[in-house]
């Protein structure tokens, strides 16, 4: 299949892996920021091709994983109201709140619907003027423009029965939080290509300067990821620390300016709590004053609650690259995708779920 098979070519992958082995003279620890990259690394077995001195650690870039429990609880409370049609992307529906998840609300009679775009939720609001339609606006800079667009369109079309429950987070502040931790062991980053498609690559220059750490903007296919790793190690071996774009087919220095303008108009930057990590300053988005009327948190009066997370769950350490999933004593025993203790076990992009799904047996034999 064009534009796909080229980036999954086994020979090219082996060549890149060999180059990586040839240029690396010492142990290096690299973090892939995005859950989509983690998923690809584990699904394709990219780390199995790497020499043993290269360690990949999995970053906090899974929006499902880092959405705090209290916001899931807010979603559940809103979704349980009879006047509400609660809409969400699919993988948020199974994330456990304190007591239950959104699918359980649906089973109890709540009108919870999976949508593929916030614009679908807006269309639902237009078609159901007697109901309140709420969209669960989750994600990084990648999903923010479409969510902003839905709110701006709601204003333009004067659709008043539409609102969004916002849990948007931003990538650079999370990277800075990891880098500024005294326990940080990350020596280089693979930045999330799709985030940079929106935001451009210029955001990372201050991080590179302040922490002298290479940041390579990387795509999501096996060859993209191997190329990102190769470039990162080249920098590390040379003692360089630069922002490098290994995803040039999609990412430009300036990013997507109209999308950035829309985000800046509809949202404002706020402090956000990250599940498993805690509050990171200036690391999230909330609706701006101008669009506050579309804020479901205000409309339904569910703001201001905090929830204690399971003390047994090490997902915070996993999300910061300090632990591998299998180093958690609960992994695969008291914590499985069927009964997750923390969000990294829930989402397909969560590091723990990816390890559980793809790794819980050892090496096999193959045909072909």
């Amino acid at each position: 299949m064009k534009y796909l098979d080229e980036y999954r070519d086994a020979d090219a992958a082996r060549k890149l892996a060999k180059q990586i082995a040839n240029i690396s003279t010492q142990p290096w620890t690299i973090m892939e920021v995005c859950g989509g990259q983690t998923h690809a690394i584990v699904r394709f077995g990219i780390d199995q091709l790497l020499p043993p001195n290269i360690t990949l650690v999995h970053g906090p870039g899974c929006p499902v994983c880092v959405t705090p429990v209290e916001i899931i609880d807010q979603a559940i409370e809103i979704a349980g109201r009879s006047s509400v049609i609660f809409t969400s992307f699919g993988d948020m529906l199974r994330v456990p709140g304190t007591v239950e998840d959104l699918l359980s609300v649906k089973a109890r009679g709540g009108d919870v619907r999976m949508v593929y775009s916030p614009m679908d939720a807006l269309a639902m609001a237009r078609a159901n003027p007697d109901r309140e339609v709420v969209f669960f606006a989750v994600g990084f800079e990648t999903t923010a423009p479409a969510n902003a667009m839905a709110v701006a369109e709601a204003r333009r079309q004067q659709i008043t029965n539409f609102s969004i429950l916002v849990s948007h987070v931003l990538v650079p502040p999370a990277m800075e939080a990891i880098l500024s931790s005294p326990r940080c062991r990350v020596q280089g980053f693979l930045a999330a290509g799709h985030v940079c498609t929106i935001m451009g690559s210029s955001e990372y220059a201050p991080l590179v300067q302040k922490y002298h750490v290479p940041i390579v903007i990387t795509g999501f296919e096996p060859l993209d990821i191997l190329d990102g790793i190769r470039r990162c190690i080249e920098q590390l071996e040379d003692g360089r620390a630069e922002v490098e774009n290994a995803y040039a087919r999609a990412v430009f220095l300036e990013g997507n300016r109209p999308a950035q303008a829309l985000i800046a108009d509809v949202f404002r930057v706020v402090h956000r709590r990250w599940r498993g990590i805690g509050e990171i300053p200036q690391s999230g988005l909330a609706l701006s004053e101008k669009y506050a009327e579309f804020d479901a948190e205000l409309r339904f009066g569910v703001a201001g609650r905090t929830v204690e997370e399971s003390s047994e769950c090490l997902s915070g350490l996993v999300l910061q690259g300090l632990k591998k999933p299998q180093e958690c004593p609960a992994f695969g025993t008291r914590c499985t995708p069927d009964r997750p203790l923390g969000a990294t076990m829930v989402s397909a992009e969560g590091a723990c779920a990816a390890y559980y799904r793809y790794r819980h047996f050892s090496e096999p034999n193959y045909v072909g």
Binding site: M1, P63, G90, T143, P222, A348, V367
Partner: protein, 346 residues
């Protein structure tokens, strides 16, 4: 009094364009529904006896199966709930290696369901059941809002005319794992129709009877160890179930599993794995390695399994382990999903 007179008079509702509660009430309207719509579609001597059940002779060992169909949307590219309900039960019999002999069909209709849609569905069932008569059935109508248009339950009886024990218990290390064709078309066709996605080409469901393919395997005297149709949960779930029950490991090579470009594209966009997507005309077949070539030749001669491939092997290893070699040559676990596959956020 002729049949024709009895159904057209005196009740004016017989021409109703929609299903009414009375169509399930046991009275004249129900009689008319059977007479005008159901019986003409499925006409056969056993059904026409109009008895409480069908009485017929079956030689030797039989296989007996049942399944319910609640698919939404009812009509989708390549099929509808009707032919799905017929193929599904025929395929469950075929997976036992049993020649399908007769079927039953029970309808639960929601009040207000369009009569034209019901006609279209029974017509599609008639076409799908050409070789296997529907010999008995039932119709119920539920209040509007208490159903989802139409549910169909089919059951089937088949004759076992071989001496194999077809099932996971017969699977042995060394067995070849054959996949009968490209995967994922039914699941993506239904999803696209339900969610209103359009792709460059319309992906059609693969719904089909698998009996011809199994019949060819039997005719070629291939020692069949296990057959499983790849419905909900797809190939990945079927292999996990079989590996678990048989107490073996299975090693699959992802590069050898056929998936059409349009299904692959749809799965990439939606963040779905085609190995978990449902099929309604595909199956996996376990045979001894030295008979794999003969099995492939037999299957390739049929329309429904001409795309068959050798995609993996049964290997010694932990009970229930299914592994897959990725396109770049690394290995991973192919696990059972903990729930339905949900599209990813990004």
């Amino acid at each position: 009094m002729s049949d024709e007179f009895s159904v057209s008079c005196p009740a004016p509702h017989t021409d109703s364009e929609r299903v009414l509660l009375a169509h399930g009430g046991g009275g004249r309207l129900m009689h008319a529904l059977l007479e005008n719509l159901i019986l003409p579609a499925f006409r056969n001597p056993l059904l026409e006896q109009r008895h409480d059940g069908a009485v017929f002779d079956v030689p030797g060992r039989i296989a007996f199966t049942t399944d319910s169909y609640v698919v939404k949307p009812i009509f989708f590219p390549g099929g509808d709930i009707g032919n799905l309900a017929v193929h599904g039960t025929i395929n469950d019999l075929a997976m036992c290696g049993a020649r399908p002999v007769s079927l039953s069909a029970a309808f639960i209709l929601e009040e207000g369901f369009p009569m034209d849609d019901l006609r279209r569905i029974t017509e599609s069932m008639r076409a799908a059941a050409q070789d296997v008569p529907i010999v008995t059935g039932d119709t119920k109508v539920v209040d509007r809002g208490k159903g989802d248009g139409i549910y169909i339950t089919t059951a089937g009886v088949g004759v076992v005319e071989h001496t194999f024990t077809i099932g996971p218990a017969s699977v042995r290390p060394g067995d070849a794992v054959l996949v009968s064709g490209d995967l994922g078309r039914h699941g993506i066709a239904v999803l696209a129709q339900r969610e209103g996605f359009s792709f460059e080409t319309t992906i059609e469901s693969d719904t089909a009877s698998l009996w011809d393919a199994v019949s060819e395997l039997l005719r070629a005297q291939v020692t069949i160890h296990c057959l499983r149709d790849l419905t909900r949960g797809g190939l990945a779930s079927a292999l996990n179930e079989i590996a678990g029950t048989a107490g073996v490991s299975i090693a699959l090579n992802e590069a050898l599993v056929p998936v059409s470009d349009d299904v692959r594209g749809a799965c990439e966009i939606l963040g779905l794995d085609p190995l978990y997507v449902a099929n309604e005309g595909r199956f996996v077949c376990f045979v001894p390695a030295d008979e794999a070539g003969r099995a492939i030749t037999a299957l390739r001669s049929t329309d429904v399994a001409h795309g068959v491939v050798l995609a993996g092997r049964v290997v010694e290893g932990p009970k229930g382990r299914v592994t897959v070699k990725s396109p770049i040559g690394a290995t991973r676990i192919l696990d059972m999903l903990s729930g339905e596959q949900l599209p990813r956020i990004c």
